[in-house]
């Protein structure tokens, strides 16, 4: 009897298989996009409250760091490996210099506040260490000077002040007890305020990202991402580099959309073809400076005048500005590296603007993609005799911002930067390119065909090296 029973079960299963297999294999199914982007989003660690672990009292911020190191002994030495600490790259060769060079906030200039060198009083507010003073050379090996709190404390309790030290009145114990994995507020306190104010420098990093709505950024607003969900951190080494402080970047050190958005992400074949030549950012970041304006022009030459002051147009200490909002990016070929980075002492271009950086790539470079940039134009001081840009001392009691004397500001910087000042200066136009990668928009708000192609397209095909609109002339990998 048992044998018979198992036989008919076998028969039933066989019949079911005969029916199910063809039905399932013919079942209609729409074409699906491959890859689940959530698969690569890191899980947030369970928070361990340090309120009961951290015991005071703390006299100095260095005491806090020492307490941290008791349980996290590698933390300081890890941080010291990073440019968050060194503010300077490893030495490397560039074609226009004989000696290896380094690039960093501490030894080079940018297109905004010009130079951090000698301006430690203000600039170190955003250094990850304590006590970087004007007088003595900074001791980069002093572990106790690593500021754990700026990245880990509740930014409602903690803030930094001059020379990188905690601001007046900070309750160090409360701050230390509040530590946790970094939040948007920790990263944002410096990165959203680059250039001296909200969204001034980047255009795509603004305080609106603290609590963004969906329309500002699909990841942080729509999907509640933290900075560290993309800028994944291991041993205090944070993924993602800013090209303006480097010349070449190993792609493995960079955050890429394709890390999570794997495979063929578009259903439309033609969009898929775009990926060979167009960066994700180009379509998915249609505008820079959503919500809050960014600085696109800074004229130092008009500083010091007795004019009415207004935050967005003129400040006596800084000069004249232009801020723009909902700015259409400038599009260039970009392979992730720079062709050129202005190094202190380089000659300026007397015939046109001097480029602080030049993104690398062109239509013939298969690794280059059309990429959106914010262009910041400045009018900066240079030495008319030596032909290089000058790095004035602005902060501190003798700085330009105190006594509005350019000549004095350049003389003060001479011993610090090692750059001779002839006594004659003027101002010259400098350009700097800032790649835009944040404030990403979903497909519904991304660029569509007519934004680039056709009569009112935003791309200058000829300038990009195409014979004409590739919708008619063919792309660089397809001939018409």
């Amino acid at each position: 009897m048992k044998k018979i029973k198992s036989f008919w079960i076998l028969g039933a299963v066989g019949i079911l298989l005969i029916v199910l297999v063809p039905v399932i294999s013919f079942w209609p199914r729409p074409t699906a996009v491959s890859g689940d982007p959530w698969a690569n989003v890191p899980q947030h660690p369970v928070h361990t409250s340090h309120a009961d672990i951290v015991q005071g009292p703390f006299e100095t911020p260095q005491d806090v760091t020492r307490a941290c190191l008791e349980c996290h002994p590698e933390a300081a030495s890890d941080v010291m490996m990073t440019t968050h600490w060194t503010w300077e790259s490893q030495p490397f060769e560039v074609s226009w210099r004989d000696e290896p060079v380094t690039i960093g906030k501490i030894n080079q200039i940018n297109n905004f506040c010009i130079s951090a060198q000698g301006n430690q009083h203000q600039c170190m507010t955003c250094h990850i260490g304590y006590a970087w003073s004007d007088e003595t050379p900074y001791d980069f090996t002093e572990q106790a000077n690593v500021d754990c709190l700026v990245c880990h404390a509740d930014m409602g309790i903690y803030a930094k002040g001059t020379y990188g030290n905690p601001a007046e009145g900070v309750d160090l114990l409360a701050a230390a007890q509040s530590v946790r994995a970094p939040t948007r507020e920790n990263c944002g306190s410096c990165h959203f305020n680059g250039g001296g104010g909200n969204n001034v420098k980047h255009g795509d990093l603004a305080e609106s990202l603290y609590f963004p709505d969906q329309e500002v950024d699909v990841h942080m607003g729509g999907n509640d991402f933290l900075c560290t969900d993309c800028h994944v951190t291991q041993n205090h080494e944070i993924l993602g580099r800013l090209v303006v402080d480097n010349v070449t970047i190993d792609p493995s050190e960079q955050v890429a959309c394709a890390t999570c958005h794997t495979g063929t992400v578009h259903t439309d074949e033609r969009l898929t073809a775009h990926v060979q030549s167009v960066a994700c950012q180009t379509c998915h970041i249609p505008t820079i400076a959503l919500d809050e304006p960014t600085k696109t022009y800074w004229d130092w030459s008009t500083a010091g005048l007795d004019r009415p002051e207004e935050h967005f147009t003129y400040l006596r200490i800084k000069g004249t500005f232009i801020y723009e909002q909902n700015l259409m990016p400038t599009y260039l070929w970009f392979n992730g590296n720079l062709d050129y980075r202005y190094l202190l002492g380089d000659l300026i271009d007397f015939d046109g603007p001097t480029f602080i950086n030049v993104p690398s790539g062109n239509i013939h470079d298969p690794t280059a993609l059309i990429f959106p940039f914010k262009v910041h134009v400045a009018n900066q001081p240079y030495d008319t005799q030596y032909g290089y840009l000058l790095a004035p001392i602005t902060s501190g009691p003798n700085g330009y911002w105190t006594n509005f004397d350019w000549d004095n500001a350049f003389r003060l910087s001479e011993p610090i930067t090692g750059l001779a000042y002839s006594g004659h200066y003027d101002f010259t136009e400098t350009w700097m390119f800032w790649p835009s990668t944040h404030m990403v928009q979903p497909a519904d708000r991304a660029l569509q065909c007519d934004d680039c192609h056709g009569e009112n397209g935003r791309l200058d095909w000829i300038a990009l090296g195409y014979p004409g609109d590739p919708i008619e002339w063919g792309g660089r990998f397809q001939r018409p």
Partner: protein
Amino acid sequence: MTDLIKPLNLRTRMLAVGLLLALLAVGMGIRLAAARETGAPTEAISPLHPTFALLDPEGINVLESAGPVSTMQTCGQCHDTLFIVEHSYHADLGLSDILTGTQVEGQAWDSSTGRYGQWDPLTYRYLSGSGDERFDLGTPEWVMLFGARHVGGGPATTSRIGVPLVDLFVQASNPDSAVLDPETGLPVAWDWEASGVIEMNCFLCHMAAPDNAARTAEIEAGNFAWANTATLNGMGLLNQDGVGVYAWNPAAFDGEGELLQEYVAIQDPTNANCAQCHGVVHTDANVLILPVCGDLSYPQTATTGQVIGPGRILNSGVNLSNKEELAFAWDIHAERQVQCTDCHYSLNNPVFYQASAVNRPAHLLFDPRRLEIGEYLERPDHNFARGQSAQFNVAPDLKGTMRRCDSCHEAVDTHAGWLPYAARHMATVACETCHIPQLYAPAIRSYDWTVLTADDQPLTSCRGVEGAGDPVTDLVTGFQPVLLQRTNVDGDTLLAPYNLITAWFWVYEDAHGNTRPVRIVDLEAAWRPDGAYPSEVLVAFDANGDGRLSEAELVIDTPEKEALIAGRLEAIGLRDPRIVGEVYPYSINHNVVGGEQALDDCETCHSADSRLAQPIILAGYAPGGVAPEFVADTNVPLAGEVYADDDGALYYQPDPQAESRYIFGHSNVAWVDRVGGLLFVGVLIAVGGHSGLRAWNAMRMKDAVKARFKRTYMYQAYERIWHWLQTVVIVLLLFTGLVIHRPELFGIFSFAGMVVMHNVLAVLLAINAFLSLFYHLASGEIKQFIPRPRGFFDNAIVQAKYYLGGIFRRAPHPFEKTPERRMNPLQQMTYLVILNVLLPLQGLTGILMWGVQKWPQYARFLGGLPGLAPFHTLIAWTFAAFIVAHVYLTTTGGPQPLDSIKAMVTGWEEIEVHEVPEEEKKPVRKPKTEEKK
């Protein structure tokens, strides 16, 4: 000598243009590859078009004559302008129908198929013919009224007898040289010599920024000679000395009187050029705002709600309901930079021209012998490729010249992944039906010319908008087009989306017995003589007695009101005035959306409330109670029904069945389901009654003598597998068929999945049936199914009597069941019918229904889907009924009700032991039996 050189020169010039083009492209490539550092290049204006002199109608340089520019002369220096005018429906607009005396199908009073000669209730004015009793519209006024949307040439230069307008006598009796005096209602003579004519205007479509407003102003003022010149206004070529007075600017010309290169802004027509006359085309970077609904300056948009825009709808300035969700372009082709001229191309443009498969030899895919670019540029055909439905009447010769969706898109393959019967859908449903599911701009719904408002206008209504007619604050809701069955030029029929515009108007009989629409001047005389409603009209219409007629009051809704107005029309001399209502279908072919926004839910059409049968409102009321009729000269026959709801609003209800369409999930033949259902329920009741009686008797006869049973190996393994596989497949076929038949009752099942499953199961059934047939034939078991003729009917009656009587008395089965003779005569009869009639019929109808996608002609031979599908349904009901009876009768076999079913599982059955007649003792197969303990 010059005769020889001239054509050569022309040819050389064209070749040079081509060469220049190639050189320039290469040059630009090289120069600009290196130009990245130097910044944006300066914008080049028409770098290819050579400079030229502007000539007046006499061929004299306008700088010299100070006259208006003549396009025929100016452009004719290189291009064959005569050829162009003769090959341009845009210029002709139906004039050639009149010249050739072509019979037209439209209204009795139409004289052509085009805007010139075909009466349109939206624009209303009627182009009078010579000898009309009451003169309405003459050619000069036609030009003034409609010239803004006419490119010139055709009726603006040539009379209806083929003579140039300027050669006509100045006489009021000829409608070609007369205009209506609105005061007297009589024609007044027009002097074409003084007004000039409008040559075909090349600038309007071939310049980047033609001043259409200035041109229109000249046309409306009757200053025809300068209309084309005014088009050049604002380009720096002209100095305007006061309104309508133009003088040439010598600074725009070189020393030889030719235009300076920077003023030569000649280009291929862009969407903006086409938009000037055709409808809303959004081409600039400004936010799109729609004109107020019904603005006939944008006829395509006014009549259909089509908006050719590349931007996302949510980024427009339209006050549109649910706008946030409309994150897609108004028209995907516009978004993807397909220009108007890419589909509506010049018919001899060698870039686009491709002989249709019908017209080219079978062995050729592509014929490389085609016009050279130079030849084309000299004589470009200005008849443009057109579809076959939109603006149905115009340019009938050109219908179907355009490539349609499926000429560019691989439609069947791209849908085959998810859409069952993709080829069938493509063959019967126009792409537009799913890819234009909704219009997001309002469109005209009705025009009521039976009344006149205080502005001497008809009462009009729009669909897809709520509000008082303010383009900014009105809420645009958009509308869903109605789906009508369109007949293509090749005779194929397709379901396609339309807007319906219904118009009511008065007609009368003139002195010659011709029916004509009542002139506006006569309507005004009847409704508003001296600019006000007369008291008898006010008394009849002013319901609230406020002395004014609101839109709600201005309705002819009683015979008295109708008689009053008819009487007033008769009083001014119109015979037999009566109201006519007509429905005009407007084909919708633009505003295409991509796959993500297209209809892809099967139940949209395959369900009880199918979109294919959705009614569309025609109007809020029927003036004079006149039910409107579909106009005859269209490709969409009226197959549905016009009905009024309780409030008097009129609707059109399409009827797919009347259009010989059977839509699975929607169509059903009521009697088939009724008969099938009755059969099924009848069997259920019979089974219920029978089993109840059995149970009752069983209780009564508890002590009845039980028959002796023995356990017999009745069914071979293959027989059992075959049976149960067939069971599963048939039950699932019935179930999936039921879902397909009435999907709204089974919302959770995917319609597409059910359709695919049904087909797969049918194949399994067929394979299983054939294998089993083979088995039965090969093993000889087939004999089981074949009744023995001798005594068959007697035996059948014996068996029937058993079921009707003996079974209740616990009588033994009349025939012993043995492995070699399992079936009683009734079973044999039943299976004979099922296996030889029903199953083949069901299979055949099923295959033919499946085959409509591949060989519809066979299905058509048997009545098409409307014939096959109900038949298939009826047989399915029969099968369902059979299964009930079949399962029930299995309970009558053994001592326990489930014994027979168990037997079909295990192969072993408890069967009654009978005395076996001697002659049947030779077993075919040695039975395995066990005595029942």
